[in-house]
Amino acid sequence: MSSILTDIDLDTTMLLLPEILMLLGIVAMILIPNLGDATMRIPLTRTRVPIFIGGTRSEFSNNPKLPNTIASGVLGLALLTSFIYLGEEADVGNALHINEFSRLFTLLFTTALLLATIATSTRMPAKPKATPPLVADSDEVADSKVAALIDNRRQVDFHILLLTTGLGMSLMAMATNLFMLFVCLELASLSSYVLVAFHKEADVGGEAGMKYFMVGSVVSAIGIYGMSLLYIWSGSLDMVDLAAAWSAMETNDPLAIIGVGMMMVAFGFKVGAAPFHLAVPDAYSGASSPIAGLLATASKAMGFVALIRLLLIVTMPPSGQAIWMLSIALIAVLTMTWGNLAALTSDNPKRMLAYSSVAHAGYMLAAMAAIGSGLADTSTSSMILTAVVFHLLILVLFKLGAFLVLSMLESDGGGHRIEDLHGLVRREPAIGVAMFVFMLSLAGVPPLSGFLSKLLMINGIVSVSAGTGAATSTTVADWAGGVDPLFWLAVAIVLNSALSLFYYLRIGLVMFFESPETESGLRKAPNLRLAIFGCALLTLLFGVGPMSEWLLDMVTSAVDSMMGL
């Protein structure tokens, strides 16, 4: 213990400020809502001194908005500090390494969490079934109902879980040791299972959380088993050591290979890759929309960080094809096709978005496969990885943005049937248009950012593979016969995008052309509206023009810092 403590100097500690803030936030979340007028008698005397913890709580500490305010503040500060420390690079202890790459992901996680927090601020009743008092209620009943409404215990629990998720994810992005990585991953995952089950307003919330937890824990067990095999094989879980051992390995050791395969299963579940994704649609449709959005963006990004570390740092050979390339490529095709096909007939928008998120995982895995093919030189690999990370970043805007819109509907009891979106543009023109922007961006329509990232990914795959058929061929057919199979991954993405347009545009169709079931607007929730408009605007700005270049430059330099360029 002491050795670690002496290793850490104050400057490095400051670099962990986002995480420290989240930790302090958790402590504050436990303490502040418990502040009351409790006193303690000093033993053997009659003097009572106030100790403030417990007793009757004041209006301030009892305020149901308080936990949300604390969480937003903490996440906002964490977002700010991670932005300020974006360029810093340092080792913390011997299991964490801060660099641009990990800080970029802290940025992503905190942004997603902040958006989810904002979406929660106006929607969560104190108790699952709490209702406002009616005029007819007797005084006693009315009092108890009011008390139930203003109690903030439930919010406290919820927001603590949000912060622990953030803490786990953020630390996980800087782990250099597989064990550390797994612990942080589990910290985030376990919190997210509970968050899914937290949606007690819907009957399926508990069931969804339970299913997600069961499948998740089985898959985690597989991952940890794989990790232990790797440990047996090399004697270390440090990624640098593992990578050295991997490249020194002359004949493939079954122990190492099985270990890596098992870890791919664990991380594959996190990113929602087929066939490990089956619990994902259940979880998304059971969870409240902000949490579903969180799972679709932050949690998926976390899975991708783990996959990138495992596949590109530990097991990427210096030259030639990686052994995982074929399986990742096949999983990619299976994932995107499965996701898009299943989304096609989903009548529940949340389920549809869940399947769309599965399909997007497929696109990104295809890009990973292009890196694994060994055909890409270092700069091309960096370019493809940039596309993937860029896609993960902007997904926060339009995928989570779409969930935020659903969250608005959900707080009025809707959001899980496509009919709830009917005529949304007539009820709420601005919100409806924002939702349409999100759908177009998800479908990859220019000039929105979803187009740019998809274009970059396809471009990466094509530029790596198309040249392979070029050498002597004179006709297109000739060329197509000789081209590396990787090229067909790009074709698969294009075909799948065409398929996906159907269900994305269907949302637009019903929003614009169907008549709404009710003419009333949605609740005011100014913060949430602001967040939705912000997401929609950034979806556009990151798609074309100077801001997109700025973000791409940022991602490129982050990716280069991770790949040691």
């Binding site: 499948v215 619990a279 096949l330 096609l344 297109v476």
Partner: protein, 758 residues
């Protein structure tokens, strides 16, 4: 603004727009750096107008204070105008900056790799396609930019009076102004574009707006049909234009002006450009220009386009958009200019341009003889005058391709100058005709509320308006003089040059130029006839209906643009000719700014060359004397008893009555007149062709689409849906199955990894 002086305060919102240019100047910007704002500010304004209009439709403030968005449109156009004036000042006055063109470095939007077949093998060219955005400025684009921004601004101003006082437009004016500003974006962007691709994109935006605005009264069948006709006809040209662009890309490997014009004689990879290939590419581009500028044989859409509101006719179908085709042909100068890196052997192309111009000029002028609709006369006149410019450009291209670069530059400069004169005069003529139509309609509305058969555009219902509309009649007189080419006024300075050089091209270079030369000379006289006829039918003689007796000029916002343009038309041509604008626009490197009054006049009326003198005086005789006198004999006459026109036009009315009147009803019933009435049967011919080719083909494709394509799509759709259902069937909802699938997945990964590594 007329009656209510307090309407000036409505202009307050445009002040910040006008301040953009001075503020940027104060910030130390270069004018060309601000050039992109000419497009960007309207680009931000037009959705704002549409959206706000949709929300506040019917609101009193929106209607009265903001003129349903017109004020914002005017503001955006004012900022574009002020920035383009700033650029013009920098460009012309800042002699140290003077170069033939300057380019703002394009910024790159997307650069991607292209799969390319180079004749032997397929390969990936990285960074091959670079879609950049930049600004290209040279004397002609600067002139056209000024014309576009200036006329857009004035016509938007005019619209505030014309559109907003007509109850039929109420609550849909935001649509008008939104589309108007979008059109302006297209025009400004096309002029500023630094490569053919962006030029084409903005070209298409204009096409779209033309369609939307012709169909502004979409509930009228004739308007909807006219919009469709314009769109489809220009589309024919645009398809060829696109083919031409692809051919150019194939030859040069780029569509950027800077790359192509650097050395048009060497193509991609340093290969010498084959003149046959280039000939075809330019011809394809020219067909696009023919469609856009309404030239034979794609001219049929322009007269019908007059279904749109009059400001639209003034702006799009007379003063700006139709010039796009001319601009495109002007852009071809570097290709043919053998003096600097051009490709020899393109004379055939130049001849085609000149012939198309000559034929259109003559044909349109002939049809204009019999039109009774005031806007239709102007529409045919537009076609005819644009055709002059094409003829001039054709002659110029011919000269340049044969190495006669002084003559070539001169006639190209004259053509571009004619573009300027014509745009100013025709924009004004259309606004003046709008003023007439508006007031006649207004008067008719007062007199006969319920008679809907009355046509306020028919000149047979007018007559004698010279006394009732002093400003309009003056404006229209100067506009007509400029179009006719009355000595010293506007178009004279440019038309003379075109006709003279076309004849010189015939006499000294190419016998096949005889056709265009004769046609444009004849057209000069015909122009004198039909323009005079239009003016006399409208303004001279006694009133021909009770409506015409009750017209008076009173709508606010309409007069200012007319007065400004009258001054420009009357004096601008002479002043610019003094300044040597023809040489400047033609791109003469050793041009001298001031030619001096005596020199200029001598050059125009008593050139040293005997041939030139003969051609010049023949033109003047035909256009300024013979044509107008014949028109006076048929349509001239004194005003009604006791009314007087203002002296600026009164002399003309009185002069016209001196030639007596001649009955021409026999001629009006002749077969030729009938043929002209039917527009020489072109519309019938096209209709017949379409009915016998396109429609059967369309029914076949409809059948094919319905049964084969839709069948396949439906099959894909039903397969996808059943696939979707079966895939979702696997998601049973049972956790046991989920874990089972994960296990299957894991074992598959093992097998795959093991297989690969073994």
């Amino acid at each position: 603004m007329g009656e209510s002086a307090n309407e000036w305060n409505l202009l307050a919102p445009i002040i910040p727009f006008v301040l953009v240019a001075p503020l940027l100047y104060a910030q130390g910007w270069e004018s060309v750096e601000a050039a992109f704002l000419i497009v960007v500010i309207p680009l931000l304004t037009f959705p704002a107008i549409l959206v706000t209009g949709q929300i506040y439709n019917g609101n009193e403030t929106w209607k009265n204070r903001f003129k349903e968005g017109g004020i914002f449109g005017l503001g955006a156009l004012a900022s574009s105008l002020s920035i383009s004036l700033w650029i013009a000042y920098d460009y012309i006055a800042g002699s140290s900056h003077f170069e033939m063109h300057s380019v703002v470095e394009p910024f790159s939007w997307l650069t991607f790799d292209v799969l390319h077949y180079d004749g032997n093998q397929w390969g990936v060219n990285s960074g091959f396609a670079d879609i950049g955005v930049g600004v290209w400025l040279d004397p002609v684009s600067l002139m056209l930019l000024f014309v576009a921004t200036f006329l857009c601004f004035l016509i938007c101003w005019f619209s505030l009076g014309y559109m907003n006082t007509d109850p039929i437009n109420e609550d849909s004016n935001h649509r008008f102004y939104g589309e108007f500003v979008l059109f302006a974006i297209g025009m400004f962007g096309m002029v500023l574009a630094d490569n053919f691709l962006w030029l084409f994109i903005f070209w298409e935006i204009m096409g779209l707006c033309s369609y939307l605005l012709i169909g502004f009264y979409y509930w009228k069948d004739s308007a909807a049909a006219a919009a469709k006709k314009a769109f489809l006809t220009t589309r024919v040209g645009d398809v060829f234009l696109m083919i031409g662009l692809l051919m150019l890309y194939d030859i040069y490997g780029s569509l950027e002006f800077a790359v192509i014009f650097e050395d048009p004689s060497t193509g991609v990879g340093g290969a010498l450009v084959n003149s046959t290939d280039l000939n075809w590419a330019l011809l394809m581009l020219f067909i696009g220009a023919v469609g856009k500028s309404a030239q034979f044989p794609l001219h049929v859409w322009l007269p019908d386009a007059m279904e749109g509101p009059t400001p639209v006719s003034a702006l799009i179908h007379a003063a700006t958009m139709v010039n796009a085709g001319l601009y495109l042909v002007f852009r071809m100068v570097p290709f043919v200019d053998v003096h600097v890196n051009g490709v020899a052997g393109l004379e055939d192309f130049a001849l085609v341009v000149a012939w198309i111009g000559g034929i259109t000029a003559f044909m349109a002028a002939a049809i204009a003889f019999v039109q009774n609709d005031i806007k239709k006369v102007l529409a045919y006149s537009t076609m005819s005058q644009l055709a002059y410019i094409f003829t001039g450009l054709g002659a110029g291209l011919l000269f340049l391709n044969l190495g006669e670069y002084h003559a070539g530059y001169f006639v190209i400069g004259a053509s571009m100058f004619h573009l300027f004169n014509h745009a100013m005069a025709k924009g004004m003529l259309f606004m003046a005709s709008g003023s007439v139509i508006h007031e006649v309609h207004h008067a008719h509305h007062h007199l006969h509320h319920d008679d809907h058969d009355f046509d306020p555009q028919d000149m047979r219902n007018m007559g004698g308006l010279a006394s009732k509309m002093p400003i309009t009649s003056t404006a229209m007189m100067f506009g007509s003089m400029s179009i006719i080419g009355i000595p010293l006024i506007g178009g004279f300075w440019s038309k003379e040059g075109i006709i003279a050089e076309t004849w010189l091209a015939y006499l000294h270079k190419e016998p096949l130029m005889l056709g265009p030369a004769i046609l444009v000379l004849a057209t000069a006289g015909m122009t004198g006839f039909y323009m005079t006829r239009m003016w006399l039918m409208t303004f001279a003689g006694p009133p021909k209906s009770d409506v015409a007796e009750h017209v008076h000029e009173g709508t606010p916002w309409i007069k200012e643009p007319l007065i400004i343009l009258t001054v420009i038309t009357a004096l601008g041509g002479f002043l610019l000719a003094l300044l040597g604008v023809v040489d400047y626009l033609g791109g003469e490197k050793d041009y001298l700014a001031m030619h001096g009054v005596v020199d200029t006049l001598k050059h125009a009326f008593l050139p040293d060359d005997n041939e030139l003198r003969a051609i010049g005086w023949t033109t003047i005789l035909l256009a300024a004397i013979l044509g107008p006198i014949m028109a006076s004999r048929v349509h001239g006459g004194k005003l009604a008893e006791g009314v007087k026109a203002n002296p600026l036009v009164g002399w003309l009315v009185n002069l016209s009555s001196k030639f007596g009147s001649q009955d021409v009803s026999d001629m009006a019933n002749s077969q030729l007149a009938e043929a002209l009435q039917r527009r020489l049967y072109f519309d019938d011919l096209y209709e017949w062709i379409v009915a016998n080719t396109a429609i059967p083909f369309a029914s076949f494709t409809a059948w094919f689409d319905k049964n084969i394509i839709d069948g396949v799509i439906k099959q894909i759709e039903s397969n996808s849906v059943s696939g979707s259902v079966s895939v979702r069937g696997i998601t049973t909802g049972s956790t046991r199955d989920y874990i089972l699938m994960a296990a299957v997945g894991m074992l598959s990964i093992f097998a795959l990894i093991w297989g690969v590594s073994a």
